[in-house]
């Protein structure tokens, strides 16, 4: 209360001088606390707000279909995943006419496709090792149908990254048999 009217100068006793001196020093602790809190906030928000992204490489597109050379791959190594609508998908190993496994419905997530991918990956590696080419891993062909949505595509690409599938491709043409398989859903 005495400090409130110190402004009118040295009209009082000697004690006033001491109280004035005390006033000149503000406790900055709280202010520094606040400043550092804000610094932390701005530092974190500037770096964390950068969006995540996923790299995707597609093979060269050849306009001239006659130049397209079919690449021969061992059907024992290929797994085809067809993306249907309503977050469903169908997979099979090998060729559709003579499948090694499937065609079977499978769900997204760790108990569905991921488990299957990991076990298939292992069995393909064992198969390739038997042939003397232990580096030949699984080949996954992803076929998104017209009804499938973008979330499914990103989800399946994500599963590829999680399961560390060495080779995968997005293929857009459907055979009539595959079309039929999806329509049955």
């Amino acid at each position: 209360m005495a400090e409130l009217n110190t402004g009118d100068g040295d009209g009082g006793k000697g004690g006033k001088v001491r109280s004035k001196k005390q006033n000149s020093k503000v406790d900055l602790t709280a202010m520094v606390d606040l400043a550092f809190l804000l610094i932390t906030f701005f530092m974190l928000t500037t770096t964390l707000s950068k969006p995540q992204s996923m790299d995707l490489g597609l093979p060269d597109k050849e306009d001239d279909k006659t130049k397209d050379k079919p690449i021969k791959v061992d059907e024992n190594r290929t797994m085809t995943i067809l993306l249907a609508d309503n977050d469903k998908m169908v997979y099979y190993m090998g060729l559709l006419a003579t499948p090694i496994a499937g065609p079977k419905d499978i769900a997204f997530g760790k108990d569905g496709i991921r488990k299957e991918l990991l076990s298939r990956k292992k069995s393909v590696l064992a198969y390739s090792a038997g042939l003397g080419k232990p580096k030949n891993g699984i080949i996954v062909i992803i076929k998104p149908s017209k009804k499938s949505n973008y979330r499914n595509l990103v989800d399946i690409l994500d599963e590829m990254a999680i399961a560390d599938v060495p080779t995968y491709a997005i293929v857009n043409d459907f055979t009539p048999e595959e079309q039929k398989l999806l329509e049955g859903k």
Binding site: L28, M31, K50, P51, Q52, S53, S145, N172
Partner: protein
Amino acid sequence: MTKKAASIDMTAMCDVAFLLLTFFILTATAKVPEALPVDTPASTVQTKLPESDLATITIGKGKIFYDLKGREVRKKALELMGQKYGIVFSEEEKAGFALMEGVGVPVTGLKQLIAMKSADRNKPGVQPGIPKDSLDNQLKEWIYNSRIANIDVNDKELQIAIKGDAKEEYPAIKEVMDILQDQKINSFNLVTGFRKIEK
């Protein structure tokens, strides 16, 4: 006698703290509301998008929006687009375009869009999306001219990111990928949200 040691002089510390605070506030770019809000799907991949040399194609609700990073690149790309479609943009319009976010209007509507207030730009129905059909493929021109502009200004190849809505159907995404592949862009980024791997 020990009273002196109890309080430290915090003035300098306070100065430094506020200097840093000012720095971070000023460098932080204000988040402008997006013209086309999309719900990106989540993934576990943790690659960050580059800060510069980036073009973002936003796909959602059947519309396509195009965004380009870097003011100088934007100016140059607008100039090239103007040349292509026979529209002359003034310096003010270029400067206005440089500060804008993603656009979703045909080239003929750009002048009008730049003249609008930023609050009006995001009103529904103002931006119908960039045409991408085979007769009038402006998205292709945008990408092509932005690549030229980016090489011109920054001397680097432009990176392309696709930011699709999770519910968007695959053919719409494929169409954009085809446009990119027609220009021999075979590698691009998909913008995703973040989620943890379920163990």
